[in-house]
């Protein structure tokens, strides 16, 4: 079974606990090496966060549990990288122009 090395999640979470606390809790999970959380939308009581996690062996169940315990919901898994190394998606002519 291959090992998941990067996960990008779209998460809706209450403003409290803050993303600092969430990042701290995710970063100490076994197999996690780095966590990046950025907010792209903010509401009166909740916010939408893009959660990027990288590591040697990520377990989605544990990550999902921590997010859930903190009141968050995973709306979608936007990217997943598994295998021996981390690779990004390849550029193809069909991709929208991003210049």
């Amino acid at each position: 079974m291959g090992k998941v090395r990067r996960l990008v999640l779209d998460v809706l979470k209450p403003l409290e606990p803050t993303i600092i606390e969430l990042a701290e809790q995710l970063s100490v999970l076994p197999g996690v090496e780095a966590v990046n959380i950025s907010i792209y939308e903010i509401d009166r009581r909740v916010e939408n966060a893009k959660v990027t996690i990288e590591g040697s062996d990520l377990h989605y169940e544990n990550i999902g549990r921590i997010i859930q315990e903190n009141g968050g919901t995973v709306h979608s898994i936007d990217e997943v990288v598994a295998g021996k190394i981390i690779i990004d998606d390849s550029v193809t002519p069909q991709d929208p122009y991003q210049g």
Partner: protein
Amino acid sequence: MSPLLRLGSHVQWLREQGALANIGEIARRYFAMNAFDGVLTIIGVLMGHYSAQVRSSSIVLVTGLSTCVAIGISGLWGAYLTESAERKRDLTELESYTLTDLSQTKIGQASRTAVVIVALVDGLAPFLAALIVLLPFFFTALWEDIAISYYSSLGLALASLFLLGAFLGKVSRENLIISGVKMIGAGLVAILISYLLRITGV
């Protein structure tokens, strides 16, 4: 895990819950408000007994302690019901945003912890404040003059009010002495009105 480490993790847990549910600020408010209520109620009880020329410390103690218990239960019960209603409403509102059940999350736990802590503060603050004021009556046998108990109790009541005022002054970062004296004013007004009632013979 050693007991010290376990205690440390409990404190850390409580701190997290406190920060999540804003327990500190609400508990502080309830503490000041209800300790004030407790002291003033006991001032009323004491002045009533003094005016009625009650010379038995056991009568003052029985009435005073019953009053303490009643204030304590009133605070505990009232705060538990109102706080849990408010917290439930708040959690339901948040759930309407996240569209998930938050009762088993840290937010839900913090909300339940807040209800218990706030209810305890709300019940214990007036109970203990009133009990402190009554303390001299436990020692009436030592000085064999109940008047001394009355005066020292009223003195203790005013001192408690001053400390409470100073505490509020510290919270609002104002002058502690001015804030304490303002609080004493309320106690003096209560004593004065009770005294006037005695003079007018009501």
